[in-house]
Every structure is written in C-alpha cells, then in structure tokens.
C-alpha cells in the first residue's frame, strides 16, 4: 500500500510539484519522499519474506542438534550399561568366592590367619566404593544428557534404611556407628526421584564413614514445603577455605595441598548437581579440631512436591 502510494507520488511529482509551487525545487521533496516510501516498503516486504524462513531454519537446525545430543546421550548411556555389566562380571566372581570363603570359615569355626582375614575384609570394604564409583560415572553421563527428571512418590526413610544397611557393616569394621531417625517417626511420601536421592545420600554417607571418628548420624525432617536430610559425623571437620570448593568438579583437599589425589573429587560435585537438578540444594557446615564440638554436617534439602 505504502509502496503503491510512493510510486504514484513519484510519477505525479512533476505535475503536483508544479501545481503547488511555481518553482522547480517544489518537485524534488515530493520525489524524495516518494522514493523513500517506495524503498522502505520494498525493504520491509523483503524482510518479512526472508526473516521467518531464516528463523525457521535455525529452529530446525537447533532441533536436529538437540536430537543428535539426545541420541548421543542415549547411546553413551547404553554403552555404559553394557560396560557396567561386563565390569561387574569378574568382580561378582571375586566377591562371590571371598564371601563363600568367609561363610565356610565361619561355619567351620576355623581360626583364620589375620593376614588372610585382612585380605578378605579388604575385598568386602572396597566393594561399596567400587559400586559407587561405577554408579558415579553412570550418573555423570546422565547429567550430561538432556533428560527430563523422573518424579514419583518416594519414601525417603526407605532410602535411608537401604544406605544404612550397606554401610553399617563397613562402619562397624572401623568401630564406627551409624544412627538414623526421622521426625515425625511416620515420615510419609515425597515427590522426587528416588534413585537421585539414593545416589546423593550414598555419596554423603560414603564420605562420612571414611572421615568420622566414631559416630555418624542421619536425620530426616521436613517443613511445609521441603524435606531435609542431615548427614552428620564427629570427624576432624573441614577447614573453611576447603568448604567453599568442596562441591567443585574434581576438587579434593589434595588439589589444594598439591598432593596426589586419593579420590576422583566427583562424588560431592555430582551430589550437589543432582540436588539442584531436583529443585533443592546441598550445603555443608563444619567445625574443625581442636574445637571440642568438631564435626561436619551436610544438609540436603529438596521440595516435598518435586521440582517446579
């Protein structure tokens, strides 16, 4: 419409200009205005034609990228599951033989040489660490893939029981004790991802069992919107300049001390990332020795009704 008006004015400008003014310069402004109108309209027409097509193409290419990433993520997960299965086979054999031996010795009430007993115990002690390590890599692969969180009704007290089952014998071996409770005693259900909570807690308890002096406590509480799991130990505590990096990927106290790393530094990073993914948080509070009340407490908070 504007383009048409511009064209008409441009054609008629010599006539209109001369009528409105006796001078020739009266024609020029009309011609300029008309040309500008004409060009602007043509430009707008071109833009309105090409921009949606360009946008459409970029959305399509983003979709292709997302599909490729998802496919890659899925493939990596599948490869890892195969790898996990194959990795487990020799370990199951070793563990099975060790457990059979332990039971045979116990049933026969045979005195075992301390070194042999130590070796058998070491296999058993390292198993949960191995399970956790493999599981950490698997969760890391999942975190890198654009997956949607799975939210289901979960009984958090059941998850704590499972982890306590696994770590109680190990803690007892090192003369440490795990106690846990929930307030209220009948805690009920929350909406979250049970596997994610279990994974976060396993990392926390695995750490705690390693560093506690004698006691480990796990407390489950809630308010109207969130539920909280506090994992406490009476260990020597973590210095404040360490706590600020404790959830960084690959960070371990040895990194700060420029020593050889004794762990991957992935556990707490994964735990913190998972907590945030499910709409919660993971924090740490610690009092270091020589304070008589030295301890470390990790607090996991998650929404009762799942992430928004």
């Amino acid at each position: 419409m504007v383009a048409c008006c511009g064209l008409i004015i441009l054609i008629l400008s010599p006539v209109l200009g001369q009528r409105s003014s006796d001078y020739l310069w009266g024609i020029e402004p009309l011609a300029y205005i008309a040309t500008i109108m004409l060009l602007t309209s043509l430009l707008l027409m071109c833009l309105s034609y090409y921009i949606p097509r360009i946008l459409e193409r970029s959305v399509e290419s983003a979709n292709i990228d997302r599909r490729t990433t998802e496919k890659w993520g899925l493939l990596t997960q599948q490869y890892f599951e195969l790898f996990h299965h194959d990795l487990g086979r020799p370990l199951r054999r070793i563990l099975g033989k060790e457990r059979e031996l332990q039971l045979t010795f116990r049933a026969a009430k045979t005195e075992i040489h301390p070194e042999v007993q130590g070796l058998l115990d070491e296999i058993e002690i390292q198993t949960p660490s191995f399970r956790l390590m493999v599981s950490n890599i698997q969760v890391l692969v999942q975190l890198e893939s654009p997956t949607v969180p799975t939210i289901q009704p979960v009984e958090p007290s059941q998850l704590i029981r499972r982890i306590v089952d696994r770590y109680t014998p190990l803690a007892a071996e090192a003369s440490k004790e795990i106690t846990w409770w929930s307030e209220p005693a009948e805690f009920g259900l929350v909406y979250s991802d049970g596997a994610a909570i279990e994974h976060i807690l396993t990392n926390l308890v695995d750490n705690t069992v390693r560093y506690a002096d004698e006691h480990i406590e796990i407390q489950l509480t809630k308010n109207l919107t969130d539920f909280f799991i506090r994992v406490w130990d009476d260990g020597p505590g973590i210095a404040p300049y360490y706590t600020q990096h404790i959830f960084d990927r690959g960070w371990t106290p040895e990194v700060a001390r420029i020593e050889e790393k004794t762990s991957s530094g992935l556990g707490l990073f994964i735990a913190s990332t998972l907590a945030k993914k499910y709409g919660g948080d993971l924090t740490v509070e610690s009092v270091v020795e020589p304070d008589i009340d030295h301890h470390t407490a990790f607090l996991l908070s998650l929404p009762i009704k799942g992430p928004d």
Binding site: Q78, E81, H84, H85, G88, L91, R92, R93, L95, G96, K97, R99, E100, Q102, L103, A107, E124, T127, F130, R131, V134, S135, Q138, V139, Q142, T150, Q152, P153, V154, E155, R161, R162, V164, D165, R166, T168, P169, E177, I178, T179, W180, W181, E183, A185, L189, A195, H199, E217
Partner: protein, 257 residues
C-alpha cells in the same frame, strides 16, 4: 512350606548366589532354587517353573534375577516374570537382583509402573549377603519367633521371654517380663529389620500412662540393662546395649563379646 524363599537365577551355582543362599540358610530360611530342565528358550522355562512353584509352594518371598540366560530376548525376562507375579500374587514380596546401579530404561519403567507400596524391591547383585537378608526381612515384614541379638542372647516373641545361651542350655532371664519385655522387643525388632534405626520416645512411651512416661521409660531401660548385664556377666554402661540418641529416642546396640 513355612519360611521359604524361592531363588530364581540362571547363575544359581555361582559363588555370589551361593553366598546369599548360605546366609539365608543360616538365617533359618528354607531356600529353594529354580532349575529348569529343557531345550526350550531358557527364559520361558524359568518363567513357567517359577510361576508353577509359587502356586504349589506359596513361598514367603522370591529372589529374582532380571537377566535369565544369555539370549538377547531373555535379557529382561526377570521383569516379565515380575509383572506376572505382581498380577497374580500382589502381596508376595519379590526382591529383584539387578546388575545395574540405576537401571536401564526398561527396568526404570517397571519400577515406575509399580505401586509405591508394592512389596517389590531392587538390589544390586554386588550387595553383601547381609544387605540382601536385611532387605528381605523388611520386604517380608514379619518378625521371627526368635530374634538373635548376638551369639549369647535371644528373644522368644511367642513366649515373651529373653534367654542367655552362655551355657549349653539356654537360661531364662526372669526379670525381663511385662512392660520391660515389650520395650526390649520393640527395640530388638526395629534393630532386626533396620540396624541403626532409632526407636522414637513416642513409640516407647505408649507403654506408660501419665505425665511421667519419659521418666518411667528411663527407669525401665536401666532395669533391662542391669538384668541383661548380670545375666551376661558384663557391665553395661550408658553407651552399651541400649543407647539414648540426642534425646530423640533409644537404639539397640548388640553387645560385643
């Protein structure tokens, strides 16, 4: 057949399953292993025999592997069998042996499709026999007639009595009866199913009436410890046998002897 656990695993002769079987036997369970004999697809054989045995023997629980055989189609046969068990016997506790920490898609889908209170649980095949036993104890839910606290002490829930077995013949601890037995049983059965779990005051104070319930409970706990200490010939301090945790409740800690 009372106290029977059915074990369905294609590696039933493997040391890891053997260790679990032995531990269950020690626990007093009757373990029955499913071993199909036939030329058909091994997964189908397992399915037919498992469902038949459940009908015939009505076991208390099933320990079921997810992968049954090396054939590709049998990779998740255990999950198919689980769905059939859940449909036909929704109250039968089933503990699934899995080799995946978080489970492949199909396993996750099955987990998700189950009722949250379905007596079905998943456990890593690398779990210790103790872990398997504890998980089964909770899934099955019932407490046995005899709860062993350690090698020298046990409770008989039928006769509501506590025995010391330091000599050849078990010796009855006469002092622990009535409310004292009820409190000790509450602590022992919680420990039996979930070691480390605290019994909150609210659950223990229900045995007393009046405002001084907490004080009465404290007195009874002290009396139980004195009686047991005397019977076992050891001195039980504040952090032995029954401990008070952060003023939240009590917890049983079997004495090391």
């Amino acid at each position: 057949m009372p106290n029977t656990i059915l074990i369905v695993d294609d590696e039933s002769e493997s040391p890891i399953v053997n260790a679990v079987k032995r531990r269950l036997d020690q626990e007093g369970w009757n373990t029955q292993i499913i071993k199909p004999e036939g030329d058909r697809s091994i997964g189908d054989e397992f399915e037919a025999l498992t469902l038949y045995t459940i009908e015939e023997k009505t076991p208390d629980g099933v320990l079921l592997d997810i992968r049954l055989g090396e054939y590709r189609e049998d990779q998740f046969k255990g999950l198919d069998i689980l769905q059939k068990i859940v449909n036909r016997h929704p109250k039968l506790p089933v503990l699934m042996f899995t080799q995946y920490a978080q489970g492949p898609d199909r396993e996750t889908a099955v987990r998700g499709s189950l009722q949250w209170d379905a007596p079905v649980d998943f456990i890593d095949k690398l779990a210790s026999p103790e872990e398997v036993v504890l998980r089964l104890r909770r899934l099955i839910g019932s407490t046995p007639d005899r709860i062993p606290i350690n090698n020298y002490l046990y409770l008989d829930t039928n006769t509501k009595t506590v025995f010391v077995t330091m000599d050849e013949t078990p010796r009855l601890i006469e002092d622990i009866n009535g409310v004292k037995f009820d409190i000790f049983e509450e602590l022992a059965s919680t420990w039996y199913r979930s070691p480390g779990e605290l019994v909150p005051f609210s659950r223990l104070e229900r045995y007393f009436e009046g405002e001084e319930a907490r004080g009465s409970l404290r007195v009874r706990i002290r009396e139980i410890k004195v009686s047991l200490g005397k019977a076992l010939g050891i001195s039980l301090g504040a952090s032995d046998l029954i401990i008070n945790v952060r003023d939240q409740g009590y917890r049983l800690v079997p004495p090391k002897m």
